[in-house]
Amino acid sequence: MAERNHPALILRHPTRDRVLHWLLVIAFLFVAASGLALFHPSLFWLTNLTGGGPWTTILHPFIGLVMVVTFIWFAAPKWRVNQLTASDYAWLKGFRYVLSGEEEKLPEVGEYNAGQKVLYFTLMACVLLLAVTGFVIWRRYFAGNFSVRVVRLGALVHAFVAFVLLVSIVVHISAAVWEKGSITSMVRGTVTPGWAYKHRRAWFRDMIRPGAGH
């Protein structure tokens, strides 16, 4: 394993997390593509990715369900560590420095920065809402049990929440691309001490404390 061969590196994402994360990514890509295909006519061509229109209708909710389950499995253990602290609020207040990359002007960051924590809760809310509304509009098995009015509302909420999720994911990806080393870490599981020092200094210090981390 990578972390064993390079003892200098710090383990950020254990195997379980990485596997679940990428499973989530795959599910998300399909569910987003199929969802967008059903959402806007100009993206209907995306149904080709999931085997055409009818198959898209069939698969989208199942893949969505995979995504929801995976997400909860992935994210539930991180509930506590994502609680926002006083320094997170300070970090959020100085968000312009985040955008400009002037991290030295921000409070030191723990395992996850406040942006990640906000994202965490946003995604958690989105996924749960999508699951609930998804069942309401799942025509093949469930929609018949709800009144047309509820189904209509469900469809509207589902579309809106999916939109929020998509924007959130775009932010998430942008941030990951922007913050060099992040994607590598999700692939290999480790970050360099320099990365940890620069981006998650408080966490870095926790990790190098004797007896901590690995």
């Binding site: 189904v151 941030a175 922007w178 001490p193």
Partner: protein, 303 residues
């Protein structure tokens, strides 16, 4: 069932204009159902099943004359019987042939995400092309009259076609042809409105002061219209919508939301990209590595 594709004026999930060189535009058609002549014999239901080769389940009696008890993928029209005691204490048995109203502004078509699964012809007929249907059921949410039904067998949406295949070759819909009392008639919408006027005069002479035509403007008018004895209270007729319109939720969902959301997602992508271009990647500098190394050593030293 398709008419010539050049007669299609609106197509689901399609933003570009359909072929539109044809002219003159054919007259809009309409089916006029005169509830005051209807005896609820269900010949229309039978003709519909025969012409369209539909055979629904043999159901049960639910304590009313309604059978099948609701529209299904194989029952595109059903009679609904309502017993109403009017203020004079006299009983009225209000019988309504339910089915697709063929709205000028069809909610189903608006809601449909599958290109070409729902079309509207120049004559006003709203038709489902099941070969393009993906079975999502959005048309059900979109319909203000609760008409489309998804088949449990093939998971496609079905409803009355107004016999577009018959109309295309100059025939009247099967239900119209079979109606024994002439309660259902078919022709240009203009003509049907004139006929309705005549009926309304007759009904008023028989004491139905509020007799009128049901051609609701909330959906741009319909190509299936009713002559009602009580046009002021359509809900008496087994819950016919008094003011049908495409639901606000559906309008929002299928209206501005679509371009706005897509735009917003695009903007987010662009913002991320340009932020990257402008602020550059956040890379770990050698001094960070150095600082990290020092801290690590310090920590180990302490240990």
């Amino acid at each position: 069932m398709a008419l010539q594709s050049l007669d299609i004026v609106r197509r689901s999930a399609t933003k570009t204009p359909p072929p539109s060189v044809r002219g003159p535009v054919p007259a809009e058609v309409a089916k006029l159902i005169d509830t005051s002549k209807c005896i609820g014999c269900k010949a229309c239901q039978t003709a519909c099943m025969e012409w369209n080769d539909l055979r629904d389940e043999v159901g049960t009696c639910d304590g009313t004359y309604n059978n099948p008890t609701d529209l299904t993928a194989q029952s595109w029209t059903v009679m609904r019987f309502a017993e109403y005691e009017n203020p004079n204490g006299n009983l009225e048995w209000l019988i309504r042939k339910d089915g697709c109203m063929h709205c000028a502004d069809p909610g189903c078509l608006k809601a449909c995400p599958a290109p070409g699964a729902i079309v509207q012809y120049a004559n006003g007929i709203v038709d489902f092309h099941e070969e393009n249907c993906i079975g999502c059921g959005y048309c059900i949410a979109g319909c203000p009259f609760d008409v489309p039904r998804i088949s449990k067998h093939d998971h496609k949406a079905y409803k009355c076609t107004l016999c577009s295949d018959r109309v295309a070759v100059g025939l009247e819909p099967a239900c119209v042809k079979t109606c024994p009392t002439g309660a259902i008639t078919f022709g240009t919408k203009e003509r049907m409105k004139q006929d309705a006027e005549e009926r309304i005069v007759d009904l008023k002479s028989r004491g139905f002061e509020h007799a009128g035509l049901y051609d609701p403007s909330g959906v741009g008018g319909t190509h299936v219209m009713y002559v009602l004895h009580h046009a002021d209270k359509p809900e008496l007729y087994s819950g016919l919508a008094p003011q049908p319109h495409i639901s606000r939720a559906v309008r929002l969902w299928k209206g501005v939301t679509k371009p706005l959301a897509l735009g917003a997602i695009g903007l987010a992508v662009l913002a991320g990209f340009f932020n990257y271009i402008i602020s550059g990647p956040k890379e770990v500098e050698p001094e960070d590595d150095e600082a990290a190394r020092k801290e690590q050593e310090k920590a180990h030293g302490r240990a």
